[in-house]
Symmetry: C2
Subunit: 201 residues, 2 copies
């Protein structure tokens, strides 16, 4: 990564986030240690803790970093509606297939986070609500503009779409040669669009 | 649990499996300790290790135990075909909604197991292959008997079905009040059956 022109502290923080992402993805939150992350960054533990005061704070920063990248790619804040929003998700999954470390981070930490009291539990709950809210609103906009059928349960469809995405991610991480994640997800999205579109749109 | 009529050693093993299941479900494999499990069973560590020689061996026994319960419920080995197999899965999910500890075990351990070298990695790979093989064969039997449309990709449908099941489990564990797992899964299965059935069956 080029860091020319960045303040030295920001470059170091980005380096720590990159290393921490890989370490959490490989070992989960519980299996990762601050000592190992510091060592892989060439820092002392106090040096690392100067930037992030605890392992939980470091995980939160890594997850926020991943969410920002995904939000940029999803086009949150743009005017996406109806089938276009669904197709954008299929494109995101194709992109994620190039980034197994990032997908592994999300899968391992979300798996751990189903336990109450895990430091990422509230992040994971908020994250699903935000993603589902984004997609449900986009689907409702498609109903409003007449391209999607009235009467669809936008919130239910949104939950199913993210469930399919997550489940295919797990299968693909476990067994990359047998599960063609992007093709299986795009097939699901195309069937869904065919089912909920108004004919002719 | 009634243990009348069982040999004492078997009853103790079942007790250890029950406690271990709950501990792995709460803490994951990495976060669970043999010391804690032994303590919750009222055993010394050597006493526990007499029955299961390592934490990995204990996890393997717990996962095998869960798989046997699921296989019985799924009717593996019975003659299930086509839409009937899909409906049986929807019934399984309704049953699982009564057993959050068991679902949490599976979700946490499968999440961890995407890392190579995790003691449950090979179990998770084999498990998906077995489940997908079972369902793909049942769908192909439905094509053969004329109830399902020829030309469906049975292996792809099977992967999507288990992806949906797993993804909805995660959402439900994280946020039980907002994600109605059994209803969302049954809705998906009914849409799928409508799409791949031959009209009139």
């Amino acid at each position: 990564m080029s860091t020319s022109g960045r303040p030295h502290g920001d470059a170091r923080k980005e380096r720590i986030l990159d290393v921490a992402l890989k370490t959490f993805a490989d070992n989960g939150f519980r299996g990762a240690s601050i000592a190992e992350i510091a060592d892989r960054c060439g820092l002392s533990q106090p040096g690392l803790l100067h930037h992030f005061p605890s392992k939980a704070a470091l995980l939160a920063a890594v997850l926020d970093h991943r969410d920002r990248l995904d939000a940029e790619r999803l086009g949150f804040g743009e005017e996406l509606r109806g089938a276009e929003a669904l197709e954008r998700l299929a494109t995101l999954v194709e992109h994620n297939a190039q980034l197994p470390g990032l997908v592994r981070l999300f899968t391992v930490v979300t798996g751990e986070a189903v336990a109450e009291g895990h430091p990422a539990h509230d992040w994971a709950v908020r994250r699903y609500r935000a993603l589902e809210g984004f997609l449900a609103r986009a689907l409702e906009a498609g109903v409003a503009d007449g391209t999607l059928a009235p009467g669809i349960d936008a919130a239910a469809v949104a939950r199913q779409v993210f469930a399919m995405m997550d489940g295919l991610q797990s299968q693909w991480l476990l067994d990359p040669s047998s599960a063609d994640m992007p093709a299986l997800f795009r097939d699901y999205i195309e069937q869904l669009i065919a089912r909920i579109s108004v004919a002719g749109n």
